[in-house]
Symmetry: C2
Subunit: 353 residues, 2 copies
């Protein structure tokens, strides 16, 4: 068993609740010695952490699909890592795992969490560590069940995806192509649009930064017969523009609203929501945790597509725990290109300063 | 066959498209002689016309679920009447019918319309003429299929209905009671609330005119465990307040948005729409015409409930074709109490001046 006394666990804790976009003052950097695992527990060295728009919601007070992070607590984050000490027969030192590891370098997981199902083993033959945070992780699961279970796309239908170059959007679009749909992405800038059309094989992409009527013009061009499925990661004006072009019996999947998360004003409601009436369409939310018992099915299918090359993945890797506060804001400026991950140690466990 | 030459057909035509609430200047009163039916056609004397919030939408230009009424055309309206001349073997003089009769005293129906399915025979043993515009008519069909097909309520669930004392709301609430749900209405004023609780048997009613926090307080009281099904006829702030209290996996049926129809501003989008995400809930539009092939099933069930007294109906009857412009505005002020109908002739055909 690794000598834990050699390690200090650096951590990032929520110091205050942000108003608008999070900044340095919302975070507290702490460190503490790594303790041996509790009876039945394990200690994981975190290797890569998942940075997601949903984190912004967890920083707010109030009822949501998950409890808020308490002031003073280590910030919640999904991550992948390696077991370095174990008092639990289900985990051996050296095992690779994925779970709620937190924004820190080491995670002490109690037996109760293990019994509740986190972390889980991951198999690096199915995908790289970072792919386990992307296509094979929460974003991939969200895309898979959001598109297939909520969106129910049929071959030949037109599927539009906002945040197309992002973590969830990548999986949604490539999976919709595999299911025989016409797939149009919405992304910010030419580079991201080129990526989703040329690298990921989408049928078209609309650059929302190209001008105030870019979305409306782009939808007219690419979705002339209407949008059958819209997978929404952004909300705001883009949601309204897509609502205005729904096809009969369309399905709108509400996965997120990254344009609204840092609002200090109330959320912008979709003024075109009556398009749901005119088109007998449906708008429905997805929370990925509801599908936990079916993750293995989705992982098996998506890992197969990764192996065959039918699904590609792109991660945007930031390095070093201390860069977390600035890395996180990239999600809200669109500076990340691909799934944003924060690598806090090399794959072999060498720590990144 | 009746001597048609004795009749002049008074009509109300759309003179201009309203900005905001319709007023007298939007209407043109005309009259023309009643002509004998075309080959294959019939002439109907209109007895009662259905006045509905949806009419406001038909007065606007632009794409919707149905073409707008053209300037100069007789205003579109559903109605019930009696065949007074027929060149069609499916209709005999004296038959009672329901269909798109228009805001006029006589409707000349061409063979093409009959082939397309309007009008249809109605059986006065199943309900009165006015009930055929209410529970057995479009509002009843809308409530029936909106609640059962889109809302899919389960016994024990909490169903909330705005416009509860109105045409659609009456059917929805009583049907939800029959299906074993807890039913909470939202209506304007004590009289309407008393009606839906005491006469119609709803479990509770929230008077939205009782103060700015009336809906929020009322939902806390009556729907403490959340709203499973919300049948929305009104939109606006009430929709937002209900969204804030959805239960997990709730269904929101978008039937109309009468609070928004006379807006000169853009429609007020529901700023709490992300409650759909948090609660994995669904918001879906209904257009009754989609269910036309199943109307007979719904009519049979609802007529049975009318006969047994399990469903009651209330109509607000205005009299005389020329009162149409003022009668219509009652839908937008909430002055009507029950399904608004405009009787243009007595049941025996005596014309109302």
């Amino acid at each position: 068993m690794t000598d834990l006394a050699q390690y200090t666990n650096r951590q990032i804790r929520l110091a205050s609740r942000p108003v608008g976009r999070p900044n340095a003052s919302n975070w507290q950097h702490t460190s503490e010695p790594v303790q041996p695992p509790e009876p039945g527990g394990i200690v994981v060295q975190n290797l890569s952490l998942s940075l997601d728009p949903a984190m912004r919601g967890w920083m707010n007070e109030g009822k949501s699909y998950i409890a808020p992070v308490a002031i003073g607590d280590v910030m919640r984050a999904g991550g992948v890592g390696r077991v370095i000490a174990s008092q639990n027969p289900r985990f051996a030192v050296g095992d690779h795992v994925s779970g709620a590891l937190g924004v820190q370098e080491f995670a002490s997981i109690p037996e109760s969490a293990i019994k509740a199902g986190t972390p889980t083993h991951i198999d690096l033959k199915q995908g790289t560590l970072n792919q386990w945070l992307n296509v094979l992780g929460m974003p991939g699961m969200t895309g898979y069940f959001g598109l297939l279970d909520v969106g129910q796309p049929k071959p030949g239908e037109t599927v539009v995806i906002s945040g197309a170059a992002g973590a969830v959007g990548q999986t949604v679009g490539q999976l919709a192509k595999i299911k025989g749909c016409r797939v149009i992405g919405i992304a910010g800038g030419k580079a991201k649009c080129d990526f989703v059309t040329k690298d990921l094989g989408f049928d078209g992409c609309i650059d929302y930064k190209a001008g105030p009527s870019a979305i409306r013009d782009g939808l007219k061009l690419h979705a002339g017969n209407g949008v059958d499925v819209y997978f929404d990661n952004v909300g705001g004006d883009i949601l309204d523009d897509v609502l205005a072009r729904l096809a009969r019996k369309a399905r709108v999947i509400i996965c997120g609203a990254v344009s609204q998360y840092n609002n200090t004003e109330p959320v912008q409601g979709p003024k075109n929501y009556l398009s749901l009436l005119v088109n007998r369409a449906r708008m429905e939310g997805i929370v990925v945790f509801d599908y936990a018992d079916r993750y293995p099915i989705a992982v098996a299918e998506l890992a197969g597509h990764l192996r065959s090359g039918r699904i590609k993945s792109r991660e945007h890797v930031e390095r070093g725990l201390s860069t977390f506060p600035t890395a996180l804001t990239k999600l809200f400026t669109g500076e990340n290109f691909g799934k944003l991950v924060l690598q806090v140690a090399e794959d072999d466990g060498t720590r990144i300063p």
